[in-house]
């Protein structure tokens, strides 16, 4: 598709790089070409240097950050090392993960104007660009709004507008959708897709959202520790089983299903990466219909009569003062001892407010919250900590000690336990999260997944009956996500009550027994996981999109007699395998 004599949009020629004051080369001998108009995903585990490579594309590395860059990075044939930031800003835009670090002004309009103003453009030209950019990101009419009042998806669209107003023809998005709820992700993607298709912009996205990659992108680049591991179309990459065995990155769920079918000697005719392809594959595999259909699916709901209530929320109302924001509107639910519950809903649905009420950090405006028999209205937070362990989204907001053991010992020390009891608590907690060998390490120097585990261990050292995790997997790669959820699972297996909040629907489907969907400060749905995901049109009101494998189940004709609401790839796989006379593969799992 590229013309022969035009230089590539981005070209890395034998690039190696190390950060200032560091002796480790985080990128080594990277060669890479990205052509004009391509829509490229960059995948890799945390530590693969995806962000570093993104920041090289617009010259921020090394021009602003410093460090030692060997080799050449060219954008449109220009050496980034020799070009000024004004020139590079008009060639390559970059959108970062956290909206708050990239929006600096107080109106949408001035935010978009910021770049063009720095380029010293004429006011008329700037006005024209603001109109154009806001129109593309569908924020026309928001000119006078404060960026801080926008939703996550709107903020990221604003960040895109602020970049494209400098008229770059390359846009780099570094994990720009990973903090958004599923609908926010869709909003951003539809804008990015339009930029690619209608304006011919080259788009490079560092992301691990493989279902979206499968749907939209031309090419996937897989990095492994600063080196190129694989490069190809989404079909080539996602059907490469050895790649996924080697690296912990996530392929679309339908591809995972196809890989399993392949191993069991019942491969799909052509390897699917999207729901539609998988649908076609299944109909080829199973023939058209088999007549018997059970359209009424029976969902098992556990009996809870004899179980004790761990968390009791009654008519909880919460209004933030002084601005009088009514965040939670009279909600009630019980969570029983030993349950594994996910609380989901879009940003602003009241999740965080409910959570803070459970922890005693906020006191109900009206209504009552009882946790482990304690009325949060009258119990001190530090006292609540004996009963409820809390795992914060961002581990860096609480790590402070010099060693992992000291960090974990902080809670038990605060409880005033004996030295030997503290040591015992620390040892048990570290073992639970699998960090028993890392007790003497310096927490900030650990990998992100391990830092999250330290935070979990710190909560567990208080031996709480209830563990609450607030978006524990945000910013974690596939490996990190699963390790964290496995720990949560083991806590549940021990009989503790586990409540987690997340945007990550595949994890909800796989781990939660029960889901509470919040929307607009009210409970929209509260049921067993399968029942919740069996109503995609209802959960969509809460900006939730069920996982891909569930979508596949729901899109298949009823008379296929496969599960309507499969929650995991494995459930679907087992069901399909049961249709074959030889059930050789079905046992393995």
């Amino acid at each position: 598709m590229n013309k022969n004599n035009e230089p590539p949009a981005i070209e890395f020629i034998d690039v190696s790089y190390r950060y200032p004051r560091s002796s480790r080369w985080v990128v080594t001998h990277l060669d890479l070409k990205i052509h004009k108009g391509e829509f490229v995903a960059i995948m890799g585990e945390n530590g693969a240097s995806k962000s570093t490579i993104c920041q090289m594309m617009n010259g921020i590395i090394p021009n602003s950050i410093g460090g030692r860059l060997v080799g050449q990075v060219l954008t449109h044939g220009l050496d980034t090392k020799e070009s000024g930031i004004a020139v590079l800003a008009t060639k390559v835009g970059i959108v970062l993960e956290d909206p708050e670090t990239q929006l600096f002004t107080t109106t949408v309009r001035s935010e978009v104007a910021f770049g063009p103003e720095n380029l010293n453009l004429e006011p008329d030209e700037i006005e024209e660009r603001i109109r154009w950019a806001l129109d593309i990101v569908r924020l026309s009419g928001f000119e006078e709004r404060m960026p801080s009042s926008l939703s996550g998806g709107q903020k990221q669209r604003l960040a895109i507008a602020a970049n494209i107003a400098m008229r770059p023809d390359i846009l780099v998005l570094d994990e720009a959708t990973s903090q958004l709820d599923p609908v926010g992700v869709e909003e951003v993607l539809s804008v990015v897709r339009e930029l690619n298709q209608k304006y011919g912009m080259t788009i490079i996205m560092a992301t691990d959202a493989s279902e979206m990659i499968a749907k939209l992108m031309d090419r996937v680049i897989v990095l492994n520790q600063g080196q190129l591991e694989a490069d190809g179309t989404p079909h080539q990459i996602f059907s490469n089983k050895t790649l996924f065995q080697k690296l912990m990155i996530r392929s679309p769920q339908v591809s995972q299903l196809a890989s399993q079918m392949e191993t069991a000697n019942h491969p799909f005719a052509s390897f699917p990466i999207t729901v539609d392809e998988a649908k076609k594959g299944i109909s080829e595999l199973l023939g058209t219909t088999n007549g018997s259909s059970n359209d009424e699916e029976s969902i098992n709901r556990p009996k809870r009569d004899h179980k004790q209530v761990a968390i009791q929320v009654e008519n909880l109302d919460y209004i933030y003062q002084p601005l009088n924001v009514h965040a939670v509107k009279g909600i009630s639910f019980n969570i029983y001892q030993g349950e594994f519950v996910a609380v989901i809903g879009q940003n602003g649905s009241g999740k965080t407010t409910v959570l803070k009420n459970l922890l005693g950090l906020l006191r109900p405006t009206s209504g009552t919250v009882m946790v482990c028999g304690q009325d949060t209205k009258t119990t001190a937070v530090a006292e609540m900590a004996r009963h409820v362990g809390f795992v914060l989204q961002n581990p860096d907001q609480q790590l402070f000690a010099d060693t992992v053991s000291e960090e974990v010992a902080f809670g038990p020390k605060n409880l005033g336990l004996e030295k030997s009891a503290i040591a015992e608590r620390v040892a048990t907690a570290l073992e639970l999260v699998g960090l028993e060998d890392k007790g003497e390490e310096f927490p900030p120097a650990l990998a992100k997944g391990d830092r999250a585990k330290v935070v979990i261990a710190s909560a567990l050292a208080l031996d709480p009956e209830v563990v609450i995790l607030d978006e524990p997997t945000t910013g974690q790669d596939y490996r990190g996500c699963h390790q964290i959820m496995q720990i949560a699972q083991s806590l549940h297996d021990q009989g503790r009550t586990v409540v987690f909040v997340t945007h990550h629907m595949a994890l909800v489907a796989e781990y939660a027994q029960r889901v509470i969907v919040l929307s607009g400060g009210k409970v929209l749905l509260d049921d067993v996981t399968e029942a919740v995901f069996s109503k995609p049109e209802v959960v969509r009101q809460a900006h939730i999109i069920p996982p891909q494998i569930t979508e596949l189940g729901q899109s298949l004709p009823i008379d296929y007699n496969l599960p309507r609401t499969p929650l995991t790839v494995d459930a679907m796989y087992q069901a399909i395998m049961n249709r074959f006379p030889d059930k050789a593969g079905a046992v393995s799992g």
Binding site: I60, N63, A86, A89, L119, A380, D396, L399, L415
Partner: protein, 263 residues
């Protein structure tokens, strides 16, 4: 408590004033306030600030929050002044006479404490009033027009902008540590509070550094500081009302200083 630095959108007279006028107003009036040593004048200044707050249509509940924070400080002022101000008119005799005036609660001491409190309250109304009614980029623009280089002006205002973010961050960190059974910030001895500082300060410092670095990346990516001169889309200009208020500010400042020295 609400942040001292935030923007409350509005279209009041105060919102529409040229930021330069507001910056100068703030500097001149705070200087004048320190030269005011008469209670009635300080009271008038404070009431005028309240009136301006009203004109700006800013929420009084937020102001109430600031005053609430001031209460212990004011209480402390009263105690210190009552004990140490060398006054003549003794109201309460000291139990143990320490020296002339010291240790006895005097009328002069009380009055001085009242004066200090009034100054303090006037200031605590004025600063947020200016910051609440001025978008950050206009602040920067005001400074540029007064003569600061724009990179410096923007760096200053960006730092101001970080204050509310850091406040939020701090409360998240405090909450996280309280949930690890840290009690000392609710109750506890001073020594315990000092001991628990690293648990708050370390994550805050590391987090701020990380954030500042990312902000620099985002700003550089948008050509910040690329050229010496820069376009300003929202140009500010002094209108008649701005000149009137600017001149009024100077007249007012001189008047309160003169009047208070005469009284």
């Amino acid at each position: 408590m609400s942040s001292l630095i935030a923007y409350y959108p509005g279209n009041s007279l105060i919102h529409r004033l040229d930021p330069r006028v507001k910056i100068i107003f703030m500097v001149i009036i705070s200087t004048a306030l320190f030269m005011v040593n008469d209670i009635s004048v300080a009271l008038v200044v404070m009431l005028i600030m309240l009136a301006v707050w009203f004109i700006a249509r800013l929420p009084f509940s937020v102001l109430g929050g600031f005053i609430k924070v001031l209460v212990p400080i004011i209480g402390f002022l009263f105690i210190v002044q009552a004990i140490f101000y060398p006054g003549e008119t003794a109201l309460i005799k000291p139990l143990i006479p320490i020296g002339k005036g010291i240790g006895q609660v005097t009328l002069e001491g009380i009055l001085f404490a009242v004066l200090l409190s009034l100054r303090l309250i006037a200031m605590i109304i004025m600063f947020p009033m200016v910051s609440f009614t001025t978008p950050v980029q206009n602040f920067a623009l005001g400074m540029v027009k007064i003569g600061l280089p724009y990179t410096l002006a923007y760096t200053l205002t960006t730092a101001l902008n970080l204050v509310p973010i850091l406040q939020t961050e701090t409360s998240v960190i405090v909450d996280a540590q309280r949930l690890r059974a840290m009690q000392s910030f609710e109750k506890g001895k001073m020594i315990d509070k000092l001991k628990s500082y690293p648990a708050l300060v370390t994550p805050l410092v590391i987090g701020s550094m990380r954030r500042a670095q990312l902000m620099a990346v985002a700003m550089d990516s948008r050509a910040f500081g690329a050229t010496k001169s820069r376009t300003y889309l929202e140009d500010i200009s002094m209108r008649t009302v701005d000149w009137i208020i600017l001149i009024g500010t100077f007249v007012f400042a001189i008047a309160i200083v003169v009047v208070s020295s005469v009284l």
